[in-house]
C-alpha cells in the first residue's frame, strides 16, 4: 500500500468508528433520555404510562405510609399540585418528610410507580430540579438553599 492509501485506511476506520458511535449515541438518546416533570406538569400533561420519567418536589409532611409487601407510599408536592408515589424497597438514608426528593419511574393510573428514589446531600440541600419546580409554582423560599 502506498502512504496515501494507508492514510486513507486510517481515515476510513476513524470515520467508521465515529459514524457508528454517532448512530449509537443517537439511538441511545432517543430511547434512554428521561424527562423531568414537576407535579404540576405531571397532572397537566398526563404522560403516557410507557414513558419513563423523573419527578421531583417536596415530600408532604405526614404523607409517608407503609403498604403491604415492603411498599412505601408518599406524596410529592410543588405546593401547587400533588402526586402520590409508590416505591418498593428501602428509601435512601436522606429521605425525610418536608425535604426535596427526586423519583424515577412511570405514571400508572394517576399513581407514580417509582423504581428509584433519590434524596441527596444534607438537610439544607435541594436538588436543582426541585428548586426549579418550586420556583415555577411560586413557592420558592431561597432560605432553604443557604448552606
Amino acid at each position: 500500500m502506498k502512504r496515501k492509501h494507508k492514510r486513507l485506511t486510517f481515515v476510513m476506520i476513524g470515520l467508521l468508528l465515529l459514524g457508528s458511535s454517532a448512530a449509537l449515541i443517537l439511538t441511545a438518546f432517543e430511547d434512554n433520555i428521561v424527562f423531568f416533570y414537576s407535579p404540576t406538569e405531571l397532572v397537566d400533561k398526563k404522560p403516557d404510562p410507557a414513558q419513563r420519567l423523573r419527578i421531583g418536589g417536596l415530600v408532604m409532611a405526614g404523607s409517608v405510609e407503609k403498604l403491604a409487601g415492603a411498599v412505601v407510599a408518599f406524596t410529592i408536592t410543588d405546593t401547587a399540585k400533588t402526586v402520590t408515589v409508590q416505591y418498593k424497597g428501602i428509601l435512601p438514608d436522606l429521605f425525610r418528610e418536608g425535604q426535596g426528593v427526586v423519583a424515577e419511574g412511570h405514571l400508572k393510573g394517576g399513581v407514580f410507580q417509582a423504581d428509584e428514589v433519590l434524596a441527596k446531600h444534607d438537610e439544607n440541600y435541594m436538588p436543582p430540579e426541585v428548586a426549579e419546580a418550586l420556583k415555577q409554582s411560586g413557592q420558592w423560599k431561597p432560605k432553604e438553599t443557604t448552606q
Partner: protein, 660 residues
C-alpha cells in the same frame, strides 16, 4: 495564629508560582541561564509553602479550632482522629488545597529528579505547571479560603457528612487527585514541547512514567470510589454512571489512550502531534472533572459548592487553560512532524485502534454527562441521562476493543500479519467460546450480554497469558530456560501483561455482577426465611447498640446453604449524633464465587419485623481484584530501568544552551 500562618504561606506560594511561571519561561526563550535556573528553587519553595499551609489546616482540624469556619462546618470534637484528618479534604476549600499541594509536589519532583532533562525543557515544564497553580491559588484566595475565621467561635462543629466517615472514602479523594493532578505533568510536558516546537523519543520517555503513575493512582481512586459505593450506599451497585463518576472516568479513558500513544511516540517516532493533543485533552478532562464536581452544577453527593461565583471562576479558568492550550496546539502542532511510517496491521496500528476507541468512548461519556446541562442552558427542558444511555453506547464500543486487545500484543512493530497471532490464540478463542456458551445455557433467562462479557473476559485473560507464554517460549524450549526467560523479561512488558490481565479479571467481575445479580426485597419477621441463589437467609431480629459517635440498629441474619451454616450477617443502620443523619451499613460476606449482601430498612409494625433487602452478587469481588492487578502492573512497569535511566542526552540546540 496557625490559620493566619497557613493563609500567609498560601499567599506567598501564589507569588512564588507567579515568579515560577514567568521568569524561567522568558529565560528559556532568551537563553538566559540564570533565569532558567530560577525554575528549580521556586518550584521547591512553592511546594514547601503549600505543604506548610496544608500542615496548618491539618493542625487546626486536629486541635478542633472552631474559630476557623472550615473546621466548624466539617468537624466535631468527638469525631475519630482519622476522620478529623480526612475532614481536611472532605470539603470544597480543603480539597482545593490538597489539589494544589499535589500539583506543587509533582512540580517539585520534576525540579529535584529532572536532572537529566534539557534545562530549557525543564524550565518550561515547571513554568507551565506553575501557571496552572496560579489559577488555583487565585481561586482559593478569592473565593474559597480554607483559613477564614468566624467570630464568635461556636462551641462545637457541625461534623462531617456521615456518608463520608468511612475508611474507603477517607483515601478516595487523595488517590483520585494524585491521578487527576498527575496528568498535569503530561500536560506541562506537552505545552513545553509545543513551545519548543519539538517532540522526540526522549520527550515521550519522560512523559510515560508520569502518565503511568497518574494512571495508577486514578485507577486505584476510581476503584476505591466504586467499592465505597458498593458497600456504603446499600444498593448493591458499584457503578451508577453518576456525573461525578463520569468526571473521573473520562480522564481515565483519555489517560489510558495517552499511555498507549506515548509508547508509539517513543518507539516509532510517530503519532507525536496526537500524543501531545491527548495529553492536553486528558488534563482538560481532569480540570473539567474538578469543575463538574466542585461547581455544584450537577446533583450529587459530591457537590460541595453551590456558590455561583465559584462556578464562574472555575469556568473562566477552564476556558483559559483548555482554550489557550488548544490554540497553542493549533498554532504550533503542525510543526511536530513524524518520521515513522504506518501500516494498519502492526503494533502501532493496534495501539492507534485502542486510541480511537478510547477517545470515542470518552467523547460519548462527555456528551452524555454534559447533555442535560446544555439542554437546560438552551431552554430545552430538564432531562436526565442515566445508566441505560451509557450502557447502550459504551458497551458496543468496548466489545471490538477487547477483541483487538488480546491480538494487539502479538503484532510486531512496523509491519505484521494477523494470522500467526490468531493461530496462537486458538486455545483462548475456544475457551472463551465454551465459557460464553456455558454461561448462556446456565442463565437463559438472564441477559445475553452477560455471557458475551464473560467470554470476552476469558478471551482477554487467556490472550494475555498466551502472550506471556509465547514471549518466554514456553513449551518450545526446555522448561528451565523458559523460566529463566521469565526473570529477564523487561518490567514494562510485565506491566502490559498485568494491565491487560487485570482488565480481563475486572470484566469477568463486571459480567457476573452486572448480569446475574439476584435481589429480593421483603418484610421479614424474626425467624423468617428467604432463599436466594441457593442461600437461605434467616432473619434473627434486630438489636440496638452504640458506636463512637453514632447509635446503631443491627439486623442479624444467619445464612445457610444446603442446611450447612455459611455465615452470620449484621446489617446496620446508624444514626449519627451530631447531624441526626442515618446511614446504611450493608453486611457483606465476600467469596470468590460471589457476595452475600444484606441491608435493613425501617421497622414494620410492632412484632420486630423489618424491611430487608438481600442480594447475591456473583463474581463481584473479581472486579476489584482486577483493578488491583492493573495498578500492580502499572507499578511494576514504573520500576523499569528504561524509565529511570531513560532520557538520553540530546544534541543540537540544547547543547548550545548548556554551554552558554
Amino acid at each position: 495564629m496557625t490559620a493566619e500562618l497557613g493563609h500567609f504561606a498560601l499567599i506567598l506560594a501564589l507569588f512564588m508560582s507567579i515568579l515560577q511561571s514567568t521568569v524561567p519561561l522568558v529565560g528559556a526563550q532568551r537563553r538566559h541561564c540564570s533565569w532558567i535556573a530560577l525554575a528549580q528553587p521556586t518550584a521547591i519553595l512553592q511546594f514547601l509553602l503549600v505543604a506548610l499551609a496544608f500542615g496548618c489546616l491539618v493542625h487546626v482540624y486536629l486541635i478542633s479550632d472552631f474559630s476557623v469556619v472550615n473546621v466548624v462546618s466539617n468537624s466535631h470534637t468527638d469525631k475519630p482522629l482519622i476522620y478529623k484528618i480526612s475532614g481536611v479534604w472532605g470539603n470544597h476549600e480543603g480539597s482545593l488545597l490538597l489539589w494544589v499541594l499535589i500539583l506543587s509536589m509533582f512540580g517539585a519532583a520534576v525540579a529535584v529528579f529532572g536532572g537529566n532533562l534539557p534545562p530549557t525543557l525543564k524550565a518550561r515544564v515547571l513554568a507551565v505547571q506553575a501557571m496552572v497553580a496560579v489559577g488555583f491559588y487565585l481561586f482559593m484566595l478569592f473565593t474559597s479560603n480554607p483559613f477564614e475565621r468566624i467570630f464568635p467561635p461556636p462551641l462545637n462543629g457541625q461534623g462531617l457528612n456521615p456518608l463520608l466517615q468511612d475508611p474507603g472514602l477517607a483515601f478516595h479523594p487523595p488517590m483520585l487527585y494524585l491521578g487527576y493532578v498527575g496528568f498535569s505533568m503530561a500536560f506541562s510536558f506537552a505545552i513545553a514541547a509545543l513551545i519548543e516546537g519539538r517532540v522526540d523519543a526522549a520527550w515521550a520517555r519522560w512523559v510515560r512514567p508520569w502518565t503511568l503513575a497518574a494512571w495508577c493512582f486514578l485507577t486505584a481512586g476510581i476503584a476505591l470510589g466504586s467499592w465505597w459505593a458498593y458497600y456504603e450506599l446499600g444498593w448493591g451497585g458499584w457503578w451508577f454512571w453518576d456525573p461525578v463518576e463520569n468526571a473521573s472516568f473520562m480522564p481515565w479513558l483519555a489517560g489510558t489512550a495517552l499511555l498507549h500513544s506515548a509508547t508509539v511516540a517513543e518507539k516509532r517516532d510517530t503519532l507525536k502531534g496526537w500524543t501531545v493533543l491527548l495529553a492536553i485533552i486528558t488534563f482538560s478532562l481532569s480540570l473539567l472533572g474538578t469543575f463538574l464536581v466542585r461547581s455544584g452544577v450537577l446533583t450529587s453527593v459530591h457537590a460541595f459548592a453551590t456558590d455561583p461565583t465559584r462556578g464562574v471562576f472555575i469556568l473562566v479558568l477552564l476556558i483559559i487553560v483548555i482554550g489557550g492550550s488548544l490554540a497553542l496546539y493549533a498554532w504550533r502542532g503542525p510543526q511536530l512532524t513524524s518520521t515513522g511510517l504506518f501500516q494498519p496491521v502492526s503494533r502501532e496500528g493496534a495501539l492507534l485502534f485502542n486510541n480511537l476507541v478510547m477517545t470515542t468512548a470518552a467523547a460519548a461519556v462527555l456528551l452524555g454527562t454534559l447533555y442535560p446541562l446544555l439542554l437546560d442552558a438552551l431552554g430545552g427542558g430538564k432531562v436526565s441521562v442515566g445508566a441505560p444511555f451509557f450502557n447502550a453506547v459504551f458497551i458496543p464500543l468496548m466489545i471490538p476493543m477487547i477483541v483487538a486487545m488480546a491480538i494487539g500484543p502479538f503484532l510486531h512493530w512496523k509491519r505484521s500479519d494477523v494470522t500467526p497471532a490468531l493461530l496462537r490464540l486458538r486455545l483462548a478463542f475456544g475457551a472463551a467460546l465454551l465459557t460464553g456458551l456455558l454461561a448462556f445455557i446456565a442463565h437463559q433467562d438472564g441477559p445475553v450480554l452477560g455471557a458475551i462479557a464473560l467470554a470476552l473476559g476469558v478471551w482477554l485473560a487467556l490472550g494475555a497469558v498466551t502472550e506471556l507464554a509465547s514471549r518466554i517460549r514456553l513449551f518450545q524450549i526446555p522448561l528451565g530456560d523458559a523460566l529463566r526467560r521469565v526473570t529477564r523479561l523487561p518490567r514494562a512488558s510485565w506491566g502490559m501483561t498485568l494491565g491487560h490481565l487485570g482488565l480481563a479479571v475486572s470484566i469477568i467481575g463486571m459480567a457476573g455482577a452486572g448480569a446475574w445479580t439476584v435481589e429480593s426485597i421483603q418484610v421479614m419477621k424474626p425467624g423468617d426465611r428467604v432463599m436466594i441463589s441457593g442461600y437461605e437467609f434467616t432473619f434473627d431480629g434486630a438489636k440496638d447498640s452504640t458506636g463512637p459517635n453514632y447509635s446503631v440498629v443491627a439486623g442479624n441474619f444467619t445464612v445457610r446453604r444446603n442446611g450447612e451454616h455459611v455465615t452470620n450477617l449484621a446489617a446496620e443502620k446508624r444514626i449519627y449524633a451530631v447531624s441526626k443523619q442515618p446511614t446504611t451499613e450493608a453486611a457483606i460476606h465476600t467469596t470468590l464465587a460471589g457476595d452475600l449482601y444484606a441491608v435493613i430498612g425501617d421497622p414494620e409494625g410492632a412484632n420486630g419485623a423489618y424491611v430487608t433487602r438481600l442480594y447475591f452478587n456473583p463474581l463481584v469481588v473479581w472486579m476489584w481484584i482486577g483493578t488491583l492487578i492493573m495498578v500492580f502492573g502499572g507499578a511494576i512497569s514504573l520500576t523499569d530501568r528504561r524509565h529511570r535511566v531513560g532520557a538520553p542526552k540530546r544534541s543540537r540546540a540544547d547543547a548550545a544552551v548548556q554551554g552558554a
